[in-house]
């Protein structure tokens, strides 16, 4: 039986040996590993890149006060980007499962159609959810578009759900029972987060304050994007900090949504606002990588 942290070590090691830069989690709240700049910005443009990192992913609406054995406000993804995707990408992926101790001849693996789309990022891809004995363990996506831009090279994105995968390996019914480190359960490490963030998101978050923050981050991103075309030296223009404000908007949107503060009608409009700044950063980034025009 493998500890949670060993699964992480082995996967990082496996992908490190296959040419991936092993990155650390991005330090701004994100809803998925895809949103970290290591994916969102790096998949743009013609430069090959390989990277792997664990990304804590926050989904306010999925919080359950630590009471539901399978749903988490914050779960950990191992995000792998292979740009361009190698021809044997699926074989490499399956080998990574062997590397964490899954004997695939003893198990049932299926690739079931599941195309991924993120309207807030103007991104979508084609792919599958990978099912291991009926459990979805990975989202596998060939990126087609990001920030509204058709991609030059097609990256493969592998997103492992680390808690699920470890629960599978440890045959645990609840993610809270997973052994994280020797003698330390997942609950001991993460239960407080789940409880307190659920209370905040569902009960105590101040809607007006969150809207103000949303507006502030949005206007800062817009202000910077407005300055970019006129910047004298585009190479030093702070697009990465601009993108941080986009991520803040996205997370605030998710929090407001879980608070029930966004009606279905408003939703479309707010998504469009986040998308606009996200697409703006993506376009400026492509331009900046080409040395500015």
């Amino acid at each position: 039986m493998d500890l949670y942290q060993n699964v992480v070590f082995k996967l990082k090691n496996y992908w490190g040996e296959r040419g991936c830069v092993i990155q650390e989690p991005y330090d701004v709240e994100v809803g998925a590993g895809t949103m970290a700049p290591e994916t969102f910005l790096r998949v743009l443009g013609p430069q090959p890149y390989r990277v792997a990192y664990v990304q804590p992913s926050r989904r306010p609406a999925d919080g359950r006060y630590g009471e539901n054995p399978n749903r988490l406000y914050k779960h950990q993804q191992l995000q792998v980007i292979l740009k361009p995707s190698p021809n044997d990408v699926i074989e490499q992926y399956l080998e990574s499962l062997e590397a964490i101790g899954i004997d695939l001849r003893q198990h049932d693996i299926k690739f079931e159609e599941d195309n991924w789309e993120s309207p807030t990022l103007g991104a979508w891809g084609i792919g599958w959810q990978v099912m291991l004995d009926g459990l979805e363990i990975t989202q596998f996506t060939y990126f087609q578009q990001c920030g509204g831009i058709d991609l030059d090279l097609v990256p493969a994105e592998l997103t492992y759900g680390l808690e699920r995968l470890t629960a599978f390996l440890q045959a645990k019914d609840s993610v809270y029972d997973i052994e994280w480190a020797p003698g330390v359960s997942h609950a001991a490490v993460r239960f407080q987060d789940e409880l307190q963030y659920s209370v905040y998101n569902f009960e105590m978050a101040n809607v007006d304050a969150l809207w103000k923050l949303f507006d502030l981050h949005e206007s800062e991103a817009q202000r910077l994007l407005g300055l970019y075309p006129k910047a004298a030296d585009k190479r030093r223009f702070p697009l990465l900090p601009t993108y941080d404000h986009v991520l803040k908007c996205s997370h605030l949107f998710n929090t407001l949504d879980s608070r029930g503060a966004i009606s279905v009608t408003e939703r479309v409009g707010v998504i469009a606002r986040v998308r606009k700044v996200a697409v703006g950063v993506a376009q400026a980034w492509v331009d900046q990588q080409q040395g500015g025009r």
Binding site: N68, N70, S85, I90, D152, D173
Partner: protein, 655 residues
């Protein structure tokens, strides 16, 4: 001599539901290729697994037949030097030329034999384009923005004509004789020949034939007690290369959750068959289909059991959470759920539906159901299993001690889900469902959101179709114009759906539908009765000839620009056929009045001999205007009197 041909397109896992269509498309494209190149058609067989699309041709000719082609040069009258020059240019001796008569005149020329091309060469050139032309609903690129598009990346290609590779390349993949086995149980590189192909795959744990996989799943799952499910079976056939069924168990305490919820989780979320006991009750087992050969240690079974347990736990968690607030206490929460931006929220829709159900004559139960039916949209279980909306509301209503009439009406109010589905079981359910659909239809049309072409984002066609089905099959005595309001475009749209229903779903002939609808379609249950009667009477001897005569009457009246308004004066009628027709029409009028439609139509059809005789012997266009007007009035009276069930002139006859 002919050569067997094998084409295998090896791809990453193709979505199951697209495969059958892609195979038929591949077959059609290949047939087209043979025809275009004048290669004899032969028996084609197409097969697929998730990772391969396969076409096999029994016997292709090794080359095209030689063709004879007439090559013409200068006209017959040309100088000999010009003729010699032509021969030299074509590389033939001048003696080989002769004068050829063509449509444009006489020219010097010769018949050239064009050797047929090798089939292998033709295929090598055409196959890359053909493969990339296979239609899929959604495609991707994988080698980069300028690369080819296909459903998923192509990873290998087998193309063999007889013993030889047909050489070509797509996206850097060269065709060859190497296939690939099952991802885990087979070899990565499997050399094949046209003869050994299927067996080589089988040895590598790939069952090529979908029919064989289907049989294997069907037999194994039946032996494990699975309840048959043809739709799920098809999915499983095309997500496996080597299917094997296993049975797992779940804790019987989950059986306290409603069967609908358990089955939805098993079928839609986990692709499991459910298992029923001999009495037909859900048993605490499931049948999963693996894409592998065996599960000797029970690892796969236990894994699936754990997943299902988690899913059922989720469902129970949602169920319990939802019980904290009754449906009746959720009505005001609907104000926060948007129905459609321009049409307001679900609370407003609910209030409109309550009013509508009242107008439609719904009793207290129907009105209560209308008030509660959308409340499950605020429940966790429906957010998780959206396909169970309505059903969950019904189940909650029952758990919260609402009357059974209310419960069933809520449960059924999205029915019919399609034309195959039944309408709600109770009158209250029918009225609530009807009110829901009519509210959506009138609302969307009022704000200009009508369907255009294939775009129908609010599924208004389905709503209208459902309303038609409920009105007819529920035999609801409701007037369509009052239901739809004054919007002519909605009325036209609805009429289209009425026609579609009676023609495509019920199988009535289009002219019968035209005839019946021409006499009004305010009451759709009545339309159905008239159609049935017409269909029954139509094959009788007198009917079609009479219909032809009615058409004639209509034409005569139109030509004479007869306005009607006056009845025929019996005293002016000539004795003989004219008076007899009048008398007969009076008798039939009495016979038909108040009778069921079928008897009335039979009575009307009995007029035929008198009508025939009239047209045979009497000149309508009599020289005396008074006589003429009276005859026209007689015909007009007959036409109007006997056209209340169906307008017979719409019936297409052979006479």
């Amino acid at each position: 001599m002919s050569l067997p041909f094998l084409l295998e397109i090896g791809a990453e896992e193709i979505p199951d539901w697209m495969i059958p269509g892609a195979l038929e498309n591949l077959r059609a494209l290949f047939t087209g290729l043979l025809d275009e190149n004048k290669l004899a058609r032969t028996h084609l067989r197409v097969d697929a697994t998730p990772r391969r699309l396969v076409l096999r041709a029994e016997g292709l000719p090794p080359r095209q037949a030689d063709a004879q082609e007439l090559v013409t040069g200068p006209p017959k009258s040309a100088q000999p030097s010009a003729v010699e020059g032509f021969a030299r240019k074509q590389g033939v001796a001048p003696e080989a030329l002769s004068v050829q008569a063509t449509a444009k005149g006489e020219y010097w020329g010769f018949v050239k034999t064009v050797p047929g091309r090798e089939t292998r060469q033709i295929l090598a050139e055409a196959l890359p384009g053909l493969i990339l032309k296979i239609y899929f609903p959604k495609t991707m690129y994988w080698t980069g923005r300028t690369g080819p598009r296909f459903i998923r990346p192509i990873r290998w290609l087998v193309a063999l004509l007889g013993g030889q590779v047909t050489p070509f390349e797509i996206a850097g993949v060269r065709s060859g004789n190497l296939s690939s086995g099952h991802r885990r149980l087979g070899a990565g590189r499997v050399p094949v020949t046209t003869e050994s192909y299927a067996e080589a795959l089988r040895a590598n744990f790939v069952i090529l034939s979908a029919e064989e996989r289907r049989e294997k799943i069907r037999n194994e799952s039946a032996a494990l007690g699975a309840k048959p499910d043809p739709g799920l079976l098809e999915t499983l056939v095309y997500i496996t290369e080597y299917p094997t069924a296993i049975r797992g168990d779940f804790d019987p305490q989950f059986l306290s959750l409603p069967e609908e919820v358990l089955v939805t989780v098993m079928k839609h979320h986990q692709k499991y068959f459910s298992v029923v006991d001999p009495e037909g009750c859900l048993a605490p087992h499931f049948v999963a289909v693996m894409n592998t050969s065996a599960d000797p240690e029970g690892l796969v079974r236990r894994g699936n059991e754990r997943v299902l347990r988690a899913r059922f736990n989720d469902a129970r968690f949602f169920w319990d959470t939802d019980q904290h607030k009754k449906l009746a206490d959720r009505v005001t929460d609907l104000a926060h759920v948007t129905f459609q931006a321009k049409l307001g929220n679900y609370l407003q829709k609910t209030e409109r539906m309550e009013e509508l159900v009242r107008r439609l004559g719904g009793d207290a139960h129907a009105q209560r159901a209308a008030r509660l039916c959308k409340c499950d949209l605020t429940c966790e279980l429906v957010k998780e299993f959206t396909e169970l909306q309505g059903v969950v509301g019904g189940l909650y209503a029952r758990a919260q001690d609402e009357p059974e009439e209310v419960t069933l009406a809520i449960y059924d109010h999205y029915k019919p889900a399609g034309m195959e589905d039944s309408i709600p079981r109770t009158r209250a359910g029918q009225l609530v469902s009807l009110a829901d659909k009519l509210d959506t239809l009138t609302g969307c049309f009022a704000v200009g959101m009508m369907p255009t072409g294939s775009r129908d984002p609010f599924a208004l066609r389905r709503s209208a179709q459902g309303a038609v089905k409920i009105l007819v099959e529920g035999r609801l005595d409701l007037a369509v114009p009052e239901l739809l309001g004054g919007d002519q475009s909605l009325r036209d749209f609805f009429e289209d759906r009425v026609r579609y229903y009676f023609k495509d779903i019920r199988g009535f002939k289009y002219d019968e539908i035209n005839a019946v609808l021409a006499c009004g379609w305010d009451n759709l249950a009545d339309v159905e009765s008239r159609l049935n009667a017409l269909q029954q009477v139509r094959p009788t001897a007198n009917f079609e000839p009479l219909a032809a005569s009615f058409k004639r009457i209509k034409n005569i009246l139109t030509q004479a620009q007869f306005e009607g308004g006056v009845a025929a004066d019996p005293s002016r009628l000539e004795p003989g056929p004219e008076s007899e027709l009048h008398a007969a029409s009076m008798t039939v009028k009495q016979l038909a009045s108040g009778r069921p439609y079928r008897e009335a139509l039979e009575a009307i059809a009995s007029l035929r001999p008198k009508v025939d005789l009239f047209f045979d012997k009497v000149l309508v266009n009599a020289p005396d205007p008074a006589v003429r007007q009276n005859r026209l009035a007689l015909l007009h009276g007959i036409l109007t009197e006997f056209s209340s069930i169906a307008d017979f002139s719409e019936i297409v006859t052979n006479t």
